[in-house]
């Protein structure tokens, strides 16, 4: 009865949009959907399949069969299912010209039938595989293709991934199918696949049809190997038949390279013992080597090959790698070396050609990463076995980055140099970050072959610096003669700058590490290298070379008997000196700001590691290094002075180059952030003049960007805590901080301040002061917090006054709030109670003024950008910082305050953190709309804040005004259900303290009590009915437990109603048992830690047992 409907409509369903109306299409779709839901459509479907010529109708018929079989499984006779399956298979076999999507859909129906049948064991997988095996051995390519499609359909249907069809069965069913299949089916598929592959690889000639079959099986093999199910596969077949037959077809080549990469990463319990693993690896490496050596690698193969090697090196234990026959290992390393160098050269070519798809760069990165892994485990390998390879890879890297004639940079294949000047915007990362992985590997290889690499870098750099000096001089003369700056040829200079750029980057990465938040040590290889040669070194000549950056190194007598590590630093200092002299000769325009950045970047990295080297940190120390840079040495004093001069010169010459100025001031901060270094810095006169200059806000320092000025202030404050006698110290502060205060007070205390406040000069002074205050706060350390806090507190109340004056200037308002944020961020953890309270009071006043001004403030429309809400973000940050004291508090040693506060009951305190924060929340909550939560920064900060509040001040939550309370609860629900898992977790963590609060109060029917009841249902559903992130189970479990304690009756109701909705008796029983077990250890549930832990443990079991039962796919 469906036929008349189906046939005419089969066409509209597939017709191009122009041919049919939307209504027609919707109608047709509706017909198909209801057809698929009809009862027992098997006969009609069979009829359609046999008679219809419309592909789309065939497709729908297959789908209808698939859905109906699953739906009516229990009602169907096993024999009719079997005959249906046979019908479908025969159907496909007999119609080799079916559209691909129709054939796949029919086979999917077969696979689903097999899968469903495996549940009640009505279909035996073995017999299915037997049938497929017969198809394969038929030798007929068409039949073999079909067999391959069946296997592919089975594989995707059984793997419990997103590929699985939705057939309305529980996740548990899908999971158990997967387990069963993993044990037997997978291996069967793999064996069948291997059989075909081996047969094909033995054949001499493949025609087009056969090679397409071959390709399909390769893709299948790849899928099998990629399958997460493949855990216990014991069969290790060789598939090193990567030869010319496959390489001709790039798709096939990709598949087989991926297969190989998967094989290369096999490890773990697959192998019965170590020797099996060694022989497997040996086999793999041999195959790999003969493959690589036998071919010329195509562009498309580079990444695949590098993946194979990288997998080999990262996945196999070192002991297995070293157990390889030594000549095989050597050949492997040699091959890796050649390949790395060759990929590196090709990557450089790609850069010249500016290709979009940088395949060699990707492959090169992979191989360099593998080298890093190897070299870091050097002690496992034969001594020195990586030295020669390291030299080769290092040399080729340097060569690719230097200009001709020494190098090949920017040379295209035909040897012609290209030199185009592209526009680079400020968002482009600096090479030192962009290529940090490559540079780390090259630096590490440089250390391994320090004997070769350090002197090489030194001589290259010295040579370039000499040439740069000469070139600048010639250009200067040229300019004096012609006076037309446009006539200067920058090509020679730019080539030198680029050479120096890379030499300095590599030197920096070789000589030192820059681990965040740690004191970096001199790398052991570098230390050993210096020690090894220290007997041949003349210390005085070394110091002379170090101390005379203005002279050519090679002109100093005895210059070949110097310490190479110091000599490399000296080469950078020579570069720095050429730069500084050029600025003094007014040649700044000819210089490269990039090179300027490289120099201060290197010096900072170097200074962190080598300056005032602490001998206690090393087992052995190089005499040249400790003599030149140790504590109390002239060398250290000299170099601190030199670096300081460099910083001061840069800040005045390069104020127009923001990045360079930033890097420069970071060097300055590094010099003073360690007390030992700062002690030397403050002895330099130039330091004092820098301080005075900055304090008087005289040119050129006032031209620097605000972030540089902030860091400069930070450095000046840090320096003030260096060792000085008390008079000197007093004088220092009088020069640095007091002018700031004085000028500020003079300005704001003027009678007409309100009138002049909008004048540009006044605004600038105010902004500069606020920036400076942020800088001062950033300089906070445990031993200076007392004085800095008092100093800053004096400002804070004046800042609040400014909130009124500048209420129309959002950027100034933001800066004022930022001062508070910084002070709270850096100082609150050190403050005793008295001082904390002062800060709370100040913050409260700030919030009051902010709130008042905010009422009259107009904001842009809803489409406004994130930075319109900077103030809101800052306020939330401030509140979070204030709360953080509850977690991080170093103030216990503050005995003075403890004594003062004794006998002062908490209630008499003027302001508590809770007051401030809740007041703030009163302001923030009404402003936070759902639209604003779409901005990630606002969203994260907001949820961090409200979770903190619930955790720290749960007792304050019931006291919130009704509206506020409601929106807080709504926020929690929203965060739990429709935000990222991170935020969802935060919200879950907020629930336990709220529930505990309710339990403590023992008041029923309060709004919080009712809210927690609602949350009980939410968390219950989340854990039992929804697919959730397993990371969340703990947070959700803790929340659930406390909520259950609070609402035992409601919990029982939830369980009851869930059970009563189960029709299947078996499932009912399993669920009932599981729920009983879940609460068995904690009956009656009480808020007791031990019980809670027991509950969490049972919950884990619960989720594992029945977690998949109610979650349907």
């Amino acid at each position: 009865q469906y036929m008349p409907v189906c046939f005419p409509l089969g066409t509209p369903g597939m017709a191009p949009p122009s041919m049919v109306s939307t209504e027609q299409r919707q109608h047709a779709e509706h017909v198909f959907l209801s057809f698929r839901k009809s009862k027992s459509p098997f006969a009609i479907c069979k009829h359609i399949l046999e008679t219809s010529k419309v592909d789309y109708v065939l497709f729908q018929a297959a789908t209808a069969i698939m859905e109906a079989v699953v739906r009516e499984w229990i009602l169907l006779e096993k024999t009719s299912i079997e005959s249906l399956r046979t019908f479908l298979l025969t159907y496909v076999l007999q119609r080799p010209n079916l559209q691909k999507y129709v054939r796949e859909q029919i086979l999917l129906a077969v696979a689903v039938i097999v899968k469903r049948g495996s549940l009640d064991k009505s279909i035996n997988c073995k017999s299915v595989f037997h049938e497929v095996g017969q198809l394969i051995s038929s030798g007929n390519p068409t039949v073999q293709t079909l067999a391959c499609s069946i296997l592919t359909a089975l594989l995707s249907e059984f793997s419990s991934s997103s590929k699985t069809s939705s057939i309305g069965l529980s996740m548990e069913f899908h999971g158990s199918c997967k387990r069963l299949f993993q044990e037997e089916g997978l291996r069967q598929i793999f064996m069948l696949t291997m059989e075909v592959l081996q047969e094909f690889s033995r054949r001499e000639n493949l025609n087009a049809q056969m090679s397409s079959v071959f390709q399909r099986y390769l893709a299948l093999a790849n899928q099998v190997l990629n399958s997460p199910l493949l855990k216990k596969k014991k069969k290790k077949n060789q598939i090193c038949f990567y030869d010319s037959k496959i390489r001709e077809d790039s798709d096939m080549a990709q598949d087989s390279l991926q297969c190989l990469a998967q094989l290369a990463s096999m490890h773990g319990p697959i192998f019965p013992d170590e020797s099996a693993q060694v022989s497997y690896l040996a086999h793999l490496v041999e195959g790999l080597l003969s493959m690589i050596n036998g071919i010329e690698i195509e562009d498309s193969e580079a990444v695949g090959i590098s993946n194979i090697i990288s997998n080999l090196i990262t996945m196999f234990p070192r002991s297995i790698l070293t157990a390889l026959p030594s000549d095989l290992f050597t050949s492997f390393i040699n091959c890796l070396t050649l390949l790395t160098c060759s990929f590196g050269r090709s990557a450089a070519l790609e850069e010249v050609l500016d290709k979009d798809d940088m395949v060699y760069m990707e492959a090169y990165d992979k191989l360099l990463e593998s080298w890093l892994t190897l070299v870091q485990d050097e002690e496992h390998f034969p001594r020195g076995c990586f030295v020669q390879p390291a030299i080769q890879v290092f040399n080729s890297y340097i060569q690719c980055h230097l200009a001709a004639p020494d190098g090949t940079r920017n040379l295209s294949v035909n040897g012609i140099a290209s030199h185009d000047e592209e526009e680079i915007n400020e968002l482009q990362e600096d090479d030192r970050e962009l290529f940090s992985d490559q540079l780390s590997s090259i630096g590490m290889l440089g250390r391994v072959a320090a004997d070769h690499c350090i002197p090489l870098l030194t001589s290259l750099l010295e040579d370039r610096v000499t040439r740069l000096h000469g070139q600048l001089q010639r250009t200067q003369q040229h300019l004096m003669a012609s006076s037309d700056p446009g006539s200067v040829d920058r090509k020679v200079l730019d080539d030198l700058y680029e050479d120096i750029h890379w030499l300095i980057l590599v030197s920096g990465y070789l000589l030192a590490d820059d681990p965040p938040g740690e004191t970096p040590l001199i790398p052991s290889e570098v230390m050993e290298f210096s020690i090894k040669h220290s007997t041949e070194v003349d210390i005085n000549t070394t110091l002379q070379i170090l101390g005379s950056p203005g002279e050519k190194a090679s002109s100093i007598p005895g210059c070949n008997r110097t310490d190479s590590v110091i000599r490399l630093l000296s080469a950078v200092l020579r570069t720095s000196e050429v730069e500084s002299r050029a600025t003094r000769a007014s040649l700044t325009e000819l210089l490269s700001p990039q090179m300027g950045k490289d120099i201060v970047w290197f010096l900072r990295r170097w200074a962190k590691t080598y300056l005032l080297v602490d001998e206690k940190l090393y087992q052995q120390i190089s005499i040249p290094l400790s003599t030149a840079f140790g504590a109390d040495t002239e060398g250290a004093q000299w170099i601190v002075g030199y670096l300081l001069e460099k910083v001061i010169n840069n800040l005045s010459v390069w104020s127009s180059e923001a990045d360079l100025a930033n890097d420069t001031v970071e060097l300055l901060v590094t010099l003073v952030e360690k007390r030992e270094r700062a002690n030397i810095v403050v002895q330099c006169e130039s330091w004092w003049s820098l301080a005075k200059q900055f304090a008087s806000r005289s040119p050129p320092l006032h031209l620097l960007s605000s972030s540089v000025q902030r860091s400069l202030m930070k450095a000046l404050v840090l320096g003030g805590f260096a060792h000085m006698d008390s008079d000197t110290k007093q004088q220092y502060w009088a020069e640095v901080l007091h002018p700031l205060q004085q000028r500020f007070l003079n300005l704001i205390n003027q009678e007409n301040f309100a009138q002049i406040s909008q004048e540009e000069a006044v605004k600038q002074e105010i902004v500069a002061t606020l920036e400076a205050l942020c800088g001062i706060a950033e300089a906070t350390q445990i031993d200076n917090v007392v004085s800095l806090f008092s100093f800053l507190m004096d400002f804070l109340s004046s800042c609040i006054g400014l909130m009124e004056v500048y209420s129309n200037t959002p950027e100034t308002i933001n800066l004022i709030i930022e001062v508070f944020v910084e002070v709270a961020h850096k100082q609150i953890c050190y403050l005793g109670e008295n001082k904390s309270m002062k800060l709370y009071e100040a913050c409260l006043t700030l919030l009051q003024v902010y709130s008042k001004n905010n009422q009259s403030r107009k904001r842009g429309d809803a489409t406004a950008e994130e930075d319109q809400y900077q103030d809101l973000l800052l306020i939330m940050e401030l509140l979070t910082n204030l709360l953080s004291k509850e977690f991080i508090d170093f103030s216990e040693n503050d005995e003075v305050f403890r004594n003062q506060e004794q006998g002062t009951p908490a209630s008499s305190r003027a302001v508590s953190a809770a007051d401030v924060v809740l007041y703030g929340v009163n302001i923030v909550l009404p402003l936070m709309s759902q639209d604003l939560l779409k901005f990630p920064s606002l969203c994260n900060q907001y949820y961090k804040l409200i979770t903190f509040i619930c955790e720290i001040f749960p007792e304050k939550i019931p006291q919130l005004p009704e509206e506020l309370f409601k929106s807080l609860m709504f926020s929690l629900e929203l965060g739990m259900t429709s935000m990222s898992s991170e935020i969802s977790q935060l919200c879950l963590e907020a629930l336990s303290p709220l529930a505990e609060q309710c339990a403590k109060n023992q008041e029923k029917d309060t709004p919080l009590f009712i809210a927690t009841r609602h949350f009980l249902k939410l968390v219950f559903d989340m854990l039992v009915l929804q697919k959730h992130n397993t990371e969340m189970t703990v947070a959700a479990g803790e929340a659930l437990y406390t909520l259950v304690c609070l609402h035992q009756a409601e919990y029982s109701e939830l369980v009851e109603s869930l059970l009563s909705s189960q029709r299947d008796a078996v499932i009912y029983q399993r669920l009932a048992d599981a729920f009983n077990k879940l609460t068995a250890s904690s009956t009656p549930p009480t808020m007791d830690r031990k019980q809670k832990v027991a509950f969490l443990k049972s919950l884990e079991e619960f989720v594992a047992n029945v977690g998949g039962l109610l979650c349907v796919k």
Binding site: E421, E422, E423, I424, N425, E426, R490, L493, D494, Y497, E498, H501, E589, S592, P593, Q594, M595, S655, S656, E657, A658, H702, L703, L704, S705, S706, Q755, Q758, E759, E760, E811
Partner: protein, 152 residues
Amino acid sequence: MADEDFDCGESGASTTFPMQCSALRKNGYVMLKNRPCKIVEMSTSKTGKHGHAKVHLVGTDIFTQRKYEDICPSTHNMDVPHVSRKDYQLSNIDDGFLSLMDDNGELREDLKIPEGDVGKDIEKRFDNGENLIITVLKALDEEQVVSIKNVS
């Protein structure tokens, strides 16, 4: 830089002052195509890896809201206008001109009712007998009423 002293307005007080391009800030003021502008966008770029920074500026005319753009080396000096706001009490409206009194009680009657919504608002609220404070924005030799508020 030597000629910066000659950039002064006629009154003798300079109406603009020079500032190094890199020291300009977003939301600050700058002269673009000889018009006083508020900087709404500021970014830098360079030509080639070893080139010097150039600053791209986008600003809106503080009086007409028209958009202007400029690009210049970051070492160059740009003119920055002195922009001021001044509040006056509105005492009368006469033939399209406003009578305004400043804090010192000095009266001026040279400013026209601005066109557009602000102007209509002033007339309407003045007719309602509201006591109004008028904010006048001034830069170079141009002045404009930009906002009004009620003194209660």
